[in-house]
């Protein structure tokens, strides 16, 4: 049933001075700037986020010193072995918790308010990913700097390459975390899912100890773990090895995971009822 006053002719927006066309880069920058501004308001969280790998470095590194020589690795420097692993761990764990902030934003109506604007859906994710990668880069530089101070040595270009690979993995995990956040919309559901996924990933990636130390079956299982290849690749680049097949596989996996994560995240942001 309707009471039908006349329906108006098509009406566009009322024009406002200074309009610019929407676009992925412009919209992503707006989202990025907003997110970074909120993070800068609480810089303590950046330091809290890096505490876990720093503690591993400080407390676990010395334990490796007498053991690393028996690992049959191209380095006998425990920190040159440990720092790349901790970088990948930072990329995975730090980024995987990014979605918790998105749940808070969703609960306060921010995500819906953004989705009712003409902004690109991909930009809503990309802006947040850029924020996560910025924070990860700062944390990675702190970790590498601390590692260097504790005795890590490596190829300068290789360290840069290792950080770039870590950022790719971090981007993948952050995108997946944001997608998971908008799918579950609950910290109580999301936390156990992350724990359930991350624990085997951590144990099978050789972050703390090389998988070659374990029995053959365990190493075979870890061959199916993409993060193991990524960890090995970052370790290789730190030693100046850029051409081995291990590096190629690690880089391939990092890029593939990033593409998969961004695709999933964008799909969730596009979804009508997210």
């Amino acid at each position: 049933m309707t009471a039908a006053p006349s329906v108006s002719a098509p009406t566009g927006r009322t024009q406002v001075d200074g309009l610019e066309p929407n676009g992925l880069v412009r919209d992503a920058l707006i989202v990025y700037r907003r997110q970074i501004r909120m993070n800068l308001r609480n810089p303590a969280w950046v330091l809290i986020g890096i505490m876990q790998p720093v503690l591993y470095l400080v407390l676990f590194g010395p334990l490796l010193k007498p053991l690393v020589g028996s690992f049959d690795l191209p380095t006998d420097n425990p920190y040159t072995f440990l720092v790349p692993g901790l970088l990948v761990q930072l990329g995975m764990f730090g980024a995987f918790f990014a979605g918790f902030g998105l749940i808070a934003e969703w609960r306060e109506g921010v995500v819906e308010a953004e989705r009712v604007t003409p902004a690109s859906r991909a930009a809503l994710l990309v802006g947040r990913l850029a924020r996560d990668l910025s924070l990860l880069l700062v944390q990675a530089l702190i970790l590498v700097g601390l590692g260097y101070w504790m005795g890590m040595r490596g190829d300068a270009l290789g360290i840069v390459a290792g950080i770039v690979i870590t950022l790719a993995v971090g981007g993948a995990c952050a995108a997946a975390s944001n997608a998971l956040a908008l799918t579950t919309k609950s910290e109580d559901v999301m936390a156990p899912i992350i724990n359930m996924v991350m624990m085997p990933v951590l144990l099978l990636s050789g972050i703390m100890l090389p998988m070659t130390l374990g029995p053959a079956w365990l190493e075979s299982v870890s061959d199916f773990m993409p993060f193991r290849w990524v960890t090995d690749a970052v370790r290789s680049t730190f030693l100046g090895d850029f051409g081995s097949s291990g590096v190629m596989w690690g880089v391939t996996w990092a890029v593939a995971l990033l593409a998969l994560g961004v695709w999933w995240g964008t799909a969730v942001f596009r979804k009508e009822n997210s």
Partner: protein
């Protein structure tokens, strides 16, 4: 401004094999003209917010079509988004961000430059009594201030059509009255078309040029408040008789001019058409019959009476038995 035909939204609720199909919106036809303030009234779970989410492109209709500001919500979503403002019932700003920053960033997502967004934001802050709060975080604002900030967010890009989803829910009476003034101003001062959902009868009555009533996903009435109330059979006349032994006579006299007679202890009630004209004669009649009254009350029909007449249920009762509440966030899966 809005033209919807046969709008349908179907959801699945529940888990596993026990999933149940819920028709949140079951074929809505709707027309809203430019400059109108339309109140979309219904109990919780009636389909108000689901309809609004389809009209604002947040939810794709399962079936049917809708054109908003001249654009199709399904195929021209970006153009629709440019033309409308939306004020959600859950808010739109992050509690830990500065209010002014949130407004500027939001406006820039509509394509405004930083300078234009800042100027327009400041202007709206002044209009909505938010001066001095530009650098305040929403978590440090009162409920009324936060709702007005949400309205600034919805208006900063100067849309011609504004959707307000339950704008005064959770506000105290003073803040509600204040917000009503601002909502009236949207049309009176800015010439905006306003489409607001509410389950408050007084709010729809006070604000809307026209009221559209939705129940169980279907529109059951659409007219001005006065016309809707005139559908109800008369005003409610409530006589409080001084002594119980006079109740029978009072009921006889009131029953002669009214309908739906009801007696509860010393109270005798009935619906009386045009009570203003009939009551003086009734009082003379009662006086002549020796019936003394402690009080007499004449109540104009309310929108609740309209809802009761149309659906057989009170709007307030309907709040409790809304099936599945499809407006809630408990819905599982996408609309199909």
């Amino acid at each position: 401004m809005i033209e919807a035909r046969g709008l349908v939204q179907t959801f699945l609720t529940g888990q596993g094999r026990k999933k149940t199909e819920v028709h949140a919106v079951a074929g809505v036809d709707l027309d809203v003209a430019e400059g109108e303030v339309v109140g979309f009234l219904g109990p919780n779970g009636a389909g108000k917010t689901t309809t609004l989410r389809m009209l604002t492109t947040l939810l794709k209709p399962t079936a049917g079509t809708a054109r908003v500001a001249g654009y199709d919500v399904a195929t021209q979503a970006v153009q629709v988004r440019r033309a409308i403002g939306y004020v959600s019932q859950v808010g739109s700003t992050f509690s830990g961000a500065y209010a002014g920053d949130e407004v500027v960033d939001h406006a820039m997502l509509y394509g405004m430059t930083r300078r234009a967004a800042h100027a327009k934001g400041q202007e709206l802050f002044a209009q909505l009594d938010l001066e001095g709060l530009w650098r305040r975080m929403p978590k440090n604002m009162s409920g009324g201030q936060k709702r007005r900030l949400d309205i600034v967010m919805g208006l900063v890009h100067e849309p011609g059509l504004v959707f307000l989803d339950e704008p005064t829910t959770g506000l105290d009476p003073q803040a509600r009255a204040n917000l009503w003034e601002h909502i009236r101003g949207l049309r009176d001062r800015r010439g905006a078309t306003v489409f607001l959902t509410t389950h408050y009868l007084d709010e729809a009555d006070a604000l809307a040029d026209r009221i559209v009533i939705i129940d169980k996903g279907r529109i059951v009435a659409s007219d001005t408040a006065d016309n809707l109330k005139s559908q109800v059979a008369g005003d409610l006349v409530d006589l409080e008789v001084a002594t119980l032994d006079q109740v029978t006579v009072a009921a006889e006299r009131l029953g002669a001019i009214g309908e739906q007679l009801e007696v509860v202890e010393r109270h005798v009630r009935a619906r009386v058409p045009r009570a203003g004209r009939a009551v003086p004669g009734l009082l003379r009649d009662l006086d002549a019959s020796g019936v003394a009254l402690d009080s007499i009350e004449v109540l104009r029909p309310t929108l609740d009476d309209v809802f009761l007449t149309l659906t057989g249920r009170s709007l307030r009762d309907a709040e409790g038995d809304a099936p599945g509440s499809p407006d809630s966030s408990e819905l599982e899966g996408a609309g199909r």
